[in-house]
Amino acid sequence: MISTTFPIDLVFPPQGHFTQPYLALPCIQAWLKAHGHDDVRLTDASVLAYDRFLSADYLARAARRVDESLPLERFRGLDELPFAEMEAYRAAVESAVAKDALIGSIDAAKAVLRGEDCFDPDRYAPAVRTLYHGLRLVSAAHFPSVLTPHNFTMAYANDRSAEVLAATLDRAANPFVAFYEEELLPALVARRPRLLGLSVIYGSQLIPALTLGRLVKAALPHCHVTAGGGFLAYIGKKLMAAPGLDACLDSVVFWEGEGPLLALADALKTGRSLGEVGSLTWFDRGERATRGGVRTVENAPAHPVRLDDAPVPDFEGLPFELYFSPETVLPYDVNRGCYYGECTFCTLPTVIGPGYRTRQADTIARQVVELRDRHGARHFNFITDCMPPGMIRDLPDALLAHEADITWWSDARVEPRAYTADGARRLYEAGCRKLLFGFETATPRLLKLMKKGQSARATLEVARNCAAADISVTFYAMVGFPSETKEEAGATLAFLLENADVVREVSLQTFHIDEVSEIYRDPSPFGLTMLDDPEADLQLYHDYVAEEGMTQEEAAVAFEEMMAGFRAHFPIFAGDNIYYFMQKSHYFLHLARGVTPDEFAARCRERAEHLEAVGGDGPWRAADGLATLELPFSYTATLKTLAHPLARAIRPDFLTGRYSEEASARARAALASLPRNPRLLAYAAGAAGASEVVELSPQAEPALSALADPRCDAAWLARQEPADRASLAAFAQRLARAGLLRAGERAVLTPHGAPSTASASPVPHS
């Protein structure tokens, strides 16, 4: 069956991470092509959006929008800054002070992440920071929406269909409406696909996916728009029952996508009924339809594919050059589901479909080699919930036998029989550089309640074996599991800190209950009472009342305490090294180059200490693009208020995307307005300092001017009183530490206030 007349488009909608491609759609593309559909096009709209948003001309456009919608002047006339205005004030200030510097430096920052400079921490950290700050400008232009490298949220609740659908129409706050219209839709309309498949893995993709679905359905009425993926495996059924959803989608595919997408494409192409397409829930818009001209039909589940028969994932069409990574890291699924499948909190294996299935080790090695040769990729991210002991033993042998010569990282389950000292060495030989284990907690009682089937001692032994083999170890941990006490959370923190020489990273999450979990279905053994929100027709996560242990609020506090402990004791969490934790693929690429975890930790430690000591090495010159801004209210005080737990609660929870109903009212009532307090903000994009933005008293203006004025040279400085020279030097030293001044030849001051022999340089300022 040749189907050149049946174009299919597969799109990964924003927002997902931007360092490497996703796997689901390449698997489906390969399956469709292997079964006769050769006109398939793959689009990673998420990385396209990041690339577009983080461009000089888009940031300039965003800056103009902020000037119009959130001008700083609006706040200058206020006598006080009420809590309700603080988010807007923060966005206005950050945009005003940073926009020109960001517009000027964003292209260079992207080039750093895509090239060899990515491996230079002094280039890397400022570049990542510039990207993060660029997204703040994009967000401010669509206030109060927030786009980060890790999330996208709007003022609309993700668990209410009416709000989700309204968000798809909100041009002012939804940046993806215009992005799709300008960047995606013209090519789609020209191509006229008959089937569009959207992959929705995360909650952050829901609104952007439905936004695209709505636009495509309006522009191409004959294109069937379907969506699937992990997040929809959870809420797809509720979504398909939502009034008005049929304006955005025609169907939802549940669980694994290969079989259903092929059956759907075949049915659409031949005009057969969709009733036979397995794992599909679809809108029947025919004569028998009832509700608003549409009838929702839920088909029987499809048979999962035999994984060993699945073809090599086909990444053709993805824009490899646009990922923010110096080298390609390809995802590859070694198995699907979880062979253990007992953990009471975990529902991840359920989203891929029934049962546990694996490829043979030889198949994996053969396909990996094919991908290596096809794409020139030497690095892989093995996608798996966990590898069983047999595979942990067999896979290294197969990779070595096929001379794969790759490096890789993956999630892992604690298997003491497999991760022995010898086993870990063998894994390293076969390219394994990083493993992420589900540690969860150090408390035996809780491990039993979780049915983890492992002890903290065994986990540590496995970690030690891996660390000794120079495999970097990450622990997943959680706080707030039902009945956990503050003391138990503290004991887990102490355990992790004691073993910071073995565990390089901790990925900590607060405990949440989703509707698929065993705990939700039977909460009584855990001493919980579930709370339902009748207004939330797309509800996935549930609040609860616990009979004992920490409340959800107390768990949130314990989370912050644990994170503070990590920031203080784990080198990769210290200072701006945190970017290596936030962009895990970038840390892995250092390991892939032969840096050992010990060496990397030492580098991180040295870098953090060096940044603390910066400022002692004058003379200095101004950072490029130093900008200053007069403020009517303190920016740091605003941030402090917005960091209060009550203030944070008004934003949707990161993991669940949920809003708390009363949070805004509680925060407004409890958090005081800020008094007028004229301040001066100084900012330098791309500065390699500890902060790159500082707040000063307006009295600092003459000092900044002196540092900027070429006439304030060594002779001029020599005429100042010793105490004044010392004050100016101390001031410059602190600015240097923040990255606003840099060590350089042409500066006026040395750390002790003595004039340098070099002549002064201009410090650009406003």
């Binding site: 900590l508 989370f559 000063l696 100042q720």
Partner: protein, 60 residues
């Protein structure tokens, strides 16, 4: 150090190119002595609003 109007084709309000700043500086009278030690030269660093909390466990 106050905000000045941007150029018509600029994005806004606060910043000038270094060369412009230099010209402005040169046109201002230069104080022979400035009592820096009597000024509030405190520097308040702003901690990055980057939190590991905001990382999806699936992020790469």
């Amino acid at each position: 150090m106050s905000q000045k109007p941007g150029k018509p084709d600029s994005t806004g309000d606060t910043k000038k190119p270094a060369t412009e700043a230099k010209a402005d500086d040169a046109s201002r009278p230069l104080s022979e002595k400035i009592g820096f030690s009597k000024l509030d030269l405190s520097v308040e660093e702003v901690e990055e609003r980057i939190s590991p909390r905001e990382t999806n466990v699936f992020d790469k």
